[in-house]
Amino acid sequence: MPSYVSRLGTTFLFLLLAGFLLANNILIAVSVIPLVLMAIGYFIDMPGNISVKKSISKDRACVGEVLNVRVDVSIESGFGPVTICDILHGSFELVEGNNFHVIWKGFSPKELSLDYKIRCNSSGTYTLNVTKWRVRHPVCDYSDNGICQNDISVKIVPRLLELHKIRGLSAKCRVPLPQGALSTLGMTTHEFKEVRMYYPGDPFKSINWKVTSRNLFRGKIHPVVNEFEKEGKKTVYIFLDTSLTMNYGTKSKNVIEYSIEAVNGLADHYLGENCIVSLISFGEKEIFVPAGAGKRQYHRILRELMKIRDNADIRKGIKRKTTDLDAVVYSNREHFLGVRPLFIVVTRYCGSNSEALKKAIEDMSKHTMKNGHLPSIMLINIIGYEMKIKKETERQAAGVVEAFVNIMSKEIRNRCIWIDWNPARESLTSALLKQAVTAR
């Protein structure tokens, strides 16, 4: 029994008893008011028998894609106002329409359809099965609420790289996509790569006698050999930072989400280029996807990436054992032997991980070959300071911090291919294209 009804009953009895005790007809007559309210509360039902049928345009979509949601509500009995709220996860953003509705249910059964559009800003598997309702009595002051459930879930996968061709510009890319990652194992192909100095153990037939004799006139006595591409796939190791520093940003726009997008895009690209790709995480979560190629490997990586999102819900009070990048590189060093892989590190540079990154890049340099004057190590630094800003002053402060971080990271920038990505301003493709320089 609602407390409102018991209050009414008490008021009624009080008035009635007072009326009879004092022999006051007016009080007895007035006691009819709470009695009528109680009777109306009982005999006029609140809206009931509510059923909800929900459908969604897709059960799998990319981050940022717009989904249509349709909710069919049927109210069979009762009379009064009804509030319907289709519960959405915090990662979803309402694009069009409304998931919160109020309606007046008359005496006849009512059916209505609610259509709205949502956009998901982070990857993961979400259940969109809960629709809450609340009904109020049209006269009395009490309400009831309930939940309708539908078996609906949607899988949101990270975005892929949007690759653009630069036309009309003679350009070359500093980003090793994917020439730098060369396997030293396997059979030699007929594809010429370069001429290099002779090392003991090289077959004599590979000596380029013409170039060697030309070099003799220049005073260089060492023979020169022809280098051919080796048969076999090139290897890419992607290291993803899952430490707490990556949880920077809002619930819908945060660094971890953009890092997932970057890893997903790069993994898809390199696997498409027929490379072997491996994913290793460092920080809070331990993820290791052994090196592999093909579509199956992409799905393996994607499956692991979808689990990383839970990292955002780690409570700050609980301390976990974290692994630094240098420790991860050291523990996986045997995997790098024989291959000269391309290392990709996706992280957010800040003071706390500066030393570990520096050491890790030094270690990685020992296992990879040089692409120009830099080793084949690409570091994608996700700058997240602008994700939280609301005022112009905060934007200025973000600029100052960014400049400070640039100065701090100067030493590491000169040791690898450093890519700054500010997701608030540009896409990952734009950030990568910034590395393209004119070849003239």
Partner: protein, 207 residues
Amino acid sequence: MKEWTLTTRILLAVFAYFLSLLLFVNTSAFEYDNFKTSFITVNVIAAIIIGLGYVTSKNALSPNFFVCMGLCVPSLMAYSKLGKSIFEINVENNFNAYFTAVLYTIVILMLLAAAKLKRLEKEYDTLVSDGADEEDVKQITTNGLKVYSAFIAGVFGITFVAETVGVTFLKVEGSTYTAIITAIAGIILFSGCVYFLSRKWTNQSHK
């Protein structure tokens, strides 16, 4: 919408207060000094109580309700037979019992309507801030008001009939035994109604 609901509920509360004051002014309890002094004293005390209530609870309607009921008590006591004989309360009322009953009912219904308006206003704000479409919220508020107005009219009709019957019975001459039997029958009848409704409510909430 909020503007007119606010104005209406303030007007209802003020009218209820003036009707209660009218009932009070027409009793002998009011005349402790000359009319002007008594009138000012009563209003100042009422204003202090309402002001204190507003300061403590940020709500002027509840203290106004208690003030109105307090002002109505002497006029009701004037028609309490046992009050006169047992508690030796001797209050005179210039209005007859029937008129007093109607005015008292109007006061109660006005205060109920004001309280409902306040609830609807609060609900309106909550729903709009939760993101509901303003037109839909307006529609349910308007429908809610219509239903409540019908309820007020119905209740007034029923109470009016009850008062007419009550006042008519007041004039019937009977013995003490008849009065006691009528009283006991009335208590049993009304309590039976409450028992029936509360039992039904309990059964409904168990379902």
